[in-house]
């Protein structure tokens, strides 16, 4: 570009910004295409490799009668671990989000929010090791207590392993991992509650908690649902942490506190991580099929979460 001519001197400003627009538009379009292609590629791969396992028996379904006998218990375990995670994470996340948005002094709230965000940045292997080394070991007394006093409920039947590596531990670790995303979304929505409605409640003589029930929760309800679903999406697909805590097994069991083989469930993600390395031939297909099932479920949950959020935006 020549800078000598005053006529063209003005030109570059306009043209570079237009060029910038073009470049940016190109980049944005390209990334969108890449994302869609990657997603389609993953789906196609899972379908192509996994679907043949559908009508296989014997070796094609890992030695089970058919693929569903193999996948079913894993799917069950996945859902069980995720449900425990959500039961633990949801009240905690909502509580922490409320502390940040409505209870704590501003500076403390900022620090706490930052700390929770940091949790999301921890690699899941670390969570897995923490699960084995810290959560599992330290929860053993709690598990024993639950087993002693509530052991008559099948959920809490024993024996409790000394390692503490149980479904409950896996669920707890997953809960901690799902905490940041739920907290972050809830905190955001709680803070957006119109001051007008909060003041309406306070002026009627509501305590802070009553104000939260009258004004904040109704405003935030669909956002909270969507936050929980997105957290669930994370818990469902999480691999490393669960793989490190649980041993693989193909059992449907509500037993949360034992590690006896034959009486504790495992999850799809953990099962893939633990077996994929040794698998070959049609066993790979069977594993990929379980992956396909997981993909469909996490996709559906995430989609539902976003749909609820989008609907809430339109309504509000």
């Amino acid at each position: 570009m020549s800078v000598t001519d005053p006529e063209t001197d003005l030109q570059p400003i306009g043209s570079t910004s237009r060029a910038g627009d073009t470049i940016f538009r190109g980049l944005a379009t390209a990334s969108a295409v890449v994302i869609v292609l990657a997603l389609a590629g993953v789906a196609a791969f899972l379908l192509a490799q996994g679907l043949p396992a559908l009508d296989g028996a014997g070796a094609r379904s890992y030695g089970y009668d058919n693929i569903w006998v193999y996948t079913g218990p894993l799917l069950f375990g996945t859902l069980l671990a995720s449900v425990i995670a959500m039961i633990v994470a949801t009240p905690l996340a909502i509580g922490v989000a409320l502390i940040i948005s409505h209870y704590a002094p501003r500076r403390f709230a900022k620090g706490l929010g930052w700390l929770i965000d940091l949790l999301a940045a921890i690699p899941s292997v670390i969570f897995g090791m923490w699960g084995i080394e810290f959560v599992a070991r330290n929860m053993v007394p709690v598990y024993n207590w639950l087993n002693d006093y509530l052991g008559f409920i099948p959920l809490f039947a024993g024996p409790v392993p000394t390692s503490g590596r149980t479904m409950m531990t896996a669920g707890l670790v997953l809960g901690v991992m799902a905490l940041p995303i739920i907290t972050a979304i809830c905190r955001e929505i709680f803070a957006q509650t119109p001051v007008m409605h909060q003041e309406a409640a306070l002026a009627l003589g509501a305590t802070r908690w009553e104000m939260i029930r009258l004004a904040v929760f109704p405003y935030a309800s669909s956002g909270m649902v969507s936050a929980i679903l997105l957290g669930l999406g994370r818990a469902l697909g999480e691999t490393m942490a669960v793989a490190l805590v649980l041993s693989p097994s193909i059992v449907v069991s509500f037993n949360l506190l034992t590690a006896e083989s034959g009486s504790s469930s495992s999850t799809i993600a953990a099962n893939i991580a633990l077996n994929f390395g040794n698998a070959s031939g049609s066993k790979v297909d069977a594993l990929i099929f379980t992956g396909l099932v997981l993909f469909v479920i996490t996709f559906a949950v995430n989609f539902l979460g976003r749909w609820v959020a989008a609907r809430a935006v339109k309504k509000g």
Binding site: A203, L214, P218
Partner: protein
Amino acid sequence: MAKSIDVSDLNIYYGDFLAVEGVNISIKARAVTALIGPSGCGKSTFLRSLNRMHEVIPGARAEGKVMVDGQDLYASDVDPVAVRRQIGMVFQRPNPFPTMSIYENVLAGKRLNAKKLKKSEADDLVEKSLRGANLWTEVKDRLGKPGMGLSGGQQQRLCIARAIAVEPEVLLMDEPCSALDPISTAAIEDLIHDLKSDYTIVIVTHNMQQAARVSDDTGFFNLRATGEPGQLVEFNPTKKMFTNPDNESTESYISGRFG
């Protein structure tokens, strides 16, 4: 039921900023007191200090005495939540709870106090409050519909119904008509006139005619200069304020020469 309010040497701060300084005022029971003055002179701030609503703003605090029928509003053993149940407030913009029906909106405050409300008691209270707010005939056939579905003026009367459903002793209104059309405004002014027999009412307004029409006493707030705290310049019976005010600045404000 209605109570009088005596304020002496009240200063109100937002953090270090002194927003309102040295207010002395005696608000009569069963009367309407209007507060007028230019924007930013602290009318809302002062009004909120009368039911401790300013305390929900971080850093806001008040010094001085506010006595409600001889009881110190700021005594250390007084719970602001209890204060707000006795001294209700209606805001500039109608703010019914958006997810609640008309019926539930009216009961929202009452449900906080009463543990369990019988259906018949609840029905009676809703009717009585809506009648009290001159809204009953307009909404009696759609009590289950959302409060947000009403017109602005109806919403504001719904908010008044909600405020009187908890049977407060004092009703504070911060520019309750400023978002409304003249017909809704007239409806609310009529309502204020009716409510006067049961409640002590304090209303902030930018509308001189409105102050003259609805109030018994009028207080004029002003700033000595920008950046200075707001002060209560003059407080007198409304008739005197609008015909023969003591203070020169009151006269020029009312006659529209500034503000």
